[in-house]
Amino acid sequence: MKKEENSKGNRYGMVIDLDKCTGCGLCTVACASENNISVLYDESDKTRNIAWLQIYTITNGKDFPDTEVVYIPRPCMQCDNPPCVSVCPPTATRKDPNTGIISQIYSRCVGCRYCMAACPYHARSFNWFDPSFPEGMDRYLSPEVSPRMRGVVEKCTFCHHRLMRARSKAYAEGRRELKEDEYIPACAEACPTQAISFGDLNNPEHQVSQLIKSPHAFRLLERLGTEPKVYYLSAKNWVRRMADNYLAGELS
């Protein structure tokens, strides 16, 4: 597997502090309303609904009253070595070499779902149904994000339209470089406890670059070599162990 680290340009990444995450679900709601995500009558069907940012619950498995609950918000990991990109037959998903963001072209996707089979994070959702918005709710749709049609795969884009918005603003002001807080995805912006930080991992001055150096930083399924750009933080050892598979007796 060849590694495609983009050393030059930007490498946008996210750090989610699980010790701060309260599982309130605001990131999911912010994401859904920012990105025109459709809703099913039965949203309890997590295997069929559209969720760019899904929250998982983990517990330490201890009996009452020593139980601890931790929430893991899971956007697209925007892997540096994405398992999904090389498998896509019609080149509908690509990694932007200048930002590291994995894009998805809905109008080109043929719906073969091979990328979903490739992604171990379940970060991709397939439109099993025609996009549905309850009656009258198409009135809140944002023109910045095109609604998806039935039969295509969609996923978190790190709110790519916000990058576009920030860039055009910067260009209009004659700047080439974006400031750290100019481009933030909706989830990071909405997080009320500021558990989600976002920035350029290639820029040592950005907060995310410093946060990932923490001994508490980890990524999901690091062993598979997907090189996610979404990092997590937790001071709890059991949480860090829960992020990847370990053989019995193996120390984390």
Partner: protein, 806 residues
Amino acid sequence: MEFSRRNFIKFFAGGLGGTLLTPLPWKLIDDIAIWTQNWSWVPVPGKGKFSHVNTVCTLCPGACGIQVRKVGSRAVKIEGRSDYPVNHGAVCPLGMAGLQVLYNEGIRWKAPMKRMGPRGSQEWKEISWDEAIDTLAARIKGFRDKGNPEKLAAVDGNQSRSTMALLIKRLLNSIGSPNYLRMPREEDTHSMVNFLMQGFDSPLTFDLENADFILSFGCGLLDGWGSSGRMLNVWRRWATNDRQHKTHIVQVDPRASNTASKADLWLAPSPGTEAALALGMAHVIIKEKLYSKEFIDNHSFGFSDWFDEKGLEHKGFSGIVLGKYSPENVENITGIKSRVIIEVARKFASANAPIALAGRGKGTFPGSLYEFMSVHALNALKGRVNNKGGTLITDDVPLAPWADVVYDSVANNGLTKERIDRAGTLRYPFTRTLIHKFAEVINGSHSSPVDTLLLCSANPAYTMPDNQSFIKALKKIPFIVSFSPFMDESSMMADLILPDHSHLEKMVDIVRPTGIQYPLYALSRPVVKPLYRTRHTGDVIISLAKRIGGSIASSFQWANFEEAIKERVSGLYDAGENKVSWEDVKKNGYWYTPRHFFGKRSDIFKTASKKFEFFSTKIELAIKTYSKGLRPGKPSGLEGKSFDDALLNLGISAKGDEVYMPHYEEIKSGGDKNEYPLLLLPIEFINLATGWIGNPPFLNKTLFDYQLTKDDLFVEVNPKTASRYGLTEGAKAILKSPKGELSVRIHHFDGAMPDVIFIPFGLGHTAYDRYLKGKGVNPNEIIDPIEDPLSGQPVWWNTRVKLIKI
């Protein structure tokens, strides 16, 4: 040419080959592909100019500042407003999904409606606003002219201090009906504690931002308690403070809720024993002399034993606590190890700015009075009253009062009559409103004492504990008018619908949002033009008053609701340091003064003793008056005439002076312990709307599939308890209480207390659209509320149930 088979084949092959050489098939294939990229049934968002509108979210009394992004005339996204003093950018999931409340055509009433078929048949006829208001005015005039203005009642869910609530109350007053009912909230209990111990008739507020030790007795700080946007923001501040100043959080909760999991320490006492736990900690603080001597000596009453004017000896709070609530005793009651009680009490006492908070879940429902008093006693012991990082007694917002109500003789006469729910009478001296009692009286009477019921911003047929008895009462009431913008359970039972605007279409205010510790006036403004033929309820009430005429019309002189608000706001100009105009308030969306403190401690308490009262003289007076009133020949069943009878009626099991002081009352519950061995404890989630607003679809997205699967609601059960009943993960079961039964699924949750069933509020709607209707079950249907001692409010968290495997 001869038409032979050979020629036919030639023709066919040639035709095929020829067509393939033309661009036609290729163009067609391409066009079809382009068609799949532009299906007409996939909505295309309209374009337009981007703009932002700052306003206040009024979906709950929390009043978070929000910024609405607009494209053209459409609102497309709600975000938190970072320059707003309440929430500093944080909002709750419901607030952020507010556009789904606004734009959901399936849940909104679009015009005034008149019921056509029998009740519940949902046959409606659209009528004009004039006809609607005339109908209501004529109805009210009808019974009012006969001298029975009290036949009008209103159930109001607007924040109690808001202009809307004032206006509705004013309408009832001017007509002459005492029957203004409010949906009960936890704030009511906090108000009572403030009134009984400190002499103030407003909710306790907490300076959480500056506290460094939070001892929360069940408040779902992260589960939507108080103003949830503010709480999330405060939590961030607590968590990001550096190590030394990090706020320590102890959560008392029978379940590993979000708050409990994130807290530094989680204590899980048996449900309903929180008061004992608080008093156990008080025991440690008193015994080890960790309390604030300055406060106790100078500003408190009833701490030590004392003699009254008659020379009778009274036992003080300290004596009772030291006698009855040793950590060992409390361990027996609560199940919390005495070692832990001592440790937490010491930590609480040694913190710089500790606060003890009483509450339950989101605070949507009232709590137990003595329990809240016991918890507040901890604050008093540490002198955490009216100081930075403590509980605060705050100024009122200096709004200008309206001109006095004009009463005619009918109104004067009507207002002397007793309230239907008996709130504020000798039996319920401190309670403002008792909506469950209201239902009880109607259900128990021959014909309904109420002729016309107004429902404003409330959905009691769904949200009330034991909602079935309220529905029964609704069925008995001859005429129901709903002002709800939504097709909720209650308005489905109405006879006349006068739909209000949705929250982003109208101007309303919230005065001192829930839990905010400084005087803040929040004013929302319309973000979009009203989508349908709805009308602001404030305007409707003013028109209605004018239509009824007479003295009532003279009490409502404003042209519209905005003028009514404006008149109140004019008071802000002269007050405080920041003088503001109406336009300023409208533009900012708020007015506030960051002044926190009401005054010097020596003269703030408005109790009889002018001190903080561990021994509440108000309770003493009330109970004594009540017991004197229990004379023979009075209502049957109250024969016995002694003080003990009074206590029995009030549901108080304590004896002697303890009755007037914070103490632990074992909460009784309906249902036999042997038949119903388990306890039902309803829970609330921040991402599941539990109030009168239905849960929007985006929030359904955030529910886990172990909370709701298809239409089945899961109850959380400790795996050990579940396996005792042979119930595996996901198994279906019947949850039965003396009131009824619900069909649920079982979720094994290690963090759930054994022998307690945790069931979420917020689902099981029988109205709204199909994104909500029929999903899950409503715990209110099987809650068997008993009355809280003294306050008489329904205890909704102590129903006995059993699980039946199916």
